[in-house]
Amino acid sequence: MTADDLPRAAAGAVPAGPRAPATASPAVRRRSLTMLGAGLVLLPLSVAVAVTVGAAGLSVGEVFVTVAAHLGLPVDPLSPLRDAIVWELRLPRVLLAALVGGGLAVCGAVLQALTRNPLADPYLLGISSGASTGAVAVLILGLGSGAAAALTAGAFAGSIAAFCCVLALIGAAPGGSLRVVLAGVAVSQLFSALTSLVVIWAGDAQSTRGVTFWLLGSLASASWSAAALCAAATGAGLALCWAASPALDAFAFGREAAASLGVAPGRTQLVLLVTTALATAVLVAASGAIGFVGLVVPHAVRFLAGTRHRVLLPAAALYGAIFLLWADTAARTLFSPREVPVGVLTALIGVPAFAVLMRGRSTGS
């Protein structure tokens, strides 16, 4: 701090003279671009390979032929059976896994920034408990005759109901990020209690098992329509949050610091909470509550690609997609002919990964 380099703010002048333009952190920048590039290559590759994995052996070439045939390209189609395995069974499921994983990771990253809580995950806002209450109501009370579509609709309605309760609690008085977390926890408890009540009151062994499978998260009921819905939710959620990434950066030091950087904290928080809640509700309705993706993937990506949301959000989407895609591939094949709910696997992989990450962080800094 010498007289020569005083702030020239009033004049707004740029310092004169040739000076090497210093990049803020070239190492982090290079690493984050590498991560994005690698993710963009790995994701389509993973989709193509994961579709070939399963009881009926297929080759990557057969996958491409099937996709080309369905796109109306002049290729010789596979036999109807193999075609159906690729197009009706595996491809929607693999794509759904990628979309759900990517969407959950983005929502987790956004909520961690908005609430300044490293433990925040997409289910923070009561979404998953609300969804289970809705799903249980459909399954056990037999609303909508228990059809798959009714289950999804019930789960979605439950999520939105829970999120409205959260909004009502935080809307009562303007407050900080802690209020959001507390409201989320309280509403989650309420809806878990409601779910238990319904199960104990009206459940039989079989419907209880179905509920459990769903609560742990499973992509077994994947369909093209579910994948399309999730594509819309993940795509729109990512686009909106990405556009708000400077505002998310600004939240690092709290609401008042964000306000002093020109961000309207209340409005930003509300818009992004609603965005992530709606996206999560769609994802949960399609797949159940798959834990750990939304918590661990953002931390891992932040550790490797830096904290700026402009890079963090797309990277979280890519690696969340790749992670859940392979977790689900393992869930449906490793214990064949049985299938494990993918939520069980994500927790089994996620916790050790988290431990390694925390160790790396504490020794690295």
Binding site: S25, A27, P246, S260, G262, R308
Partner: protein, 263 residues
Amino acid sequence: MSLATRDVAWSADGVPIVDGVTISVPKGRFTGLIGPNGSGKSTLLRLLAGLLRPRAGTVLLDGRRLGGLPRREVARRLAVVAQESSTDIDMTVADVVALGRIPHRSPLALMGRDDLRDARETEEALERCGLAGWGERRWSTLSGGERRRVGIARALAQRPAELLLDEPTNHLDIHHQLDLLRMLARAPVTVVAALHDLNLAARYCDHLLLLEAGRVVASGPPAEVLTARWIERVYRVRVAVSAAPDGRPHLWYSPLDETASPG
């Protein structure tokens, strides 16, 4: 005139914190806010920054009502260094300082358009705070005083015309206190800082505002405000004033119930 207030008031739970303050901050000068604990310095600063909405009265920036200006436009003009600020995110120092560039970024910055300029501004702000080459360090590993200087670098990266600081010398050793205050005094921007050390305020400020119970009781150049009469009344201490080598007032304190006073 850059910042001014007209009869501005703010209260918490019915207790008045700032109670009818009318001031005008001289443009391009260093104004010190002084007063005992709880006299309303921080609240007045946050009102001036537009972070609190006055319950009564108005805050004016160049004659326009601050509350009516777009937040982003205000952030390009006016930077704030809060008393305490922290984050749980494991950020680098460069990332923290670069936050100051947010109000200046165009929507196209998402594609990286402003990156070079922002990096240059970030680096320069770090240099001004004596932190050149610190960009890669982790914010979480810094001491309180170092964090404080990073916070000031963040505010400078905002390229403000008005810079508001709440006790900026907190946590700083005496070398860095003097360094910082000298930089603020020489900077061609309007500075308003809440300060506890009256002798440092005497030495570096052009203009002082003395607060007591939410009201400005004295204002003017240090020699007019830092008089035994005012300081004894507002701070409830015994004071002897002498002239420092630079001609500015220097205060010697003792408790009210002690008879002998040094100096």
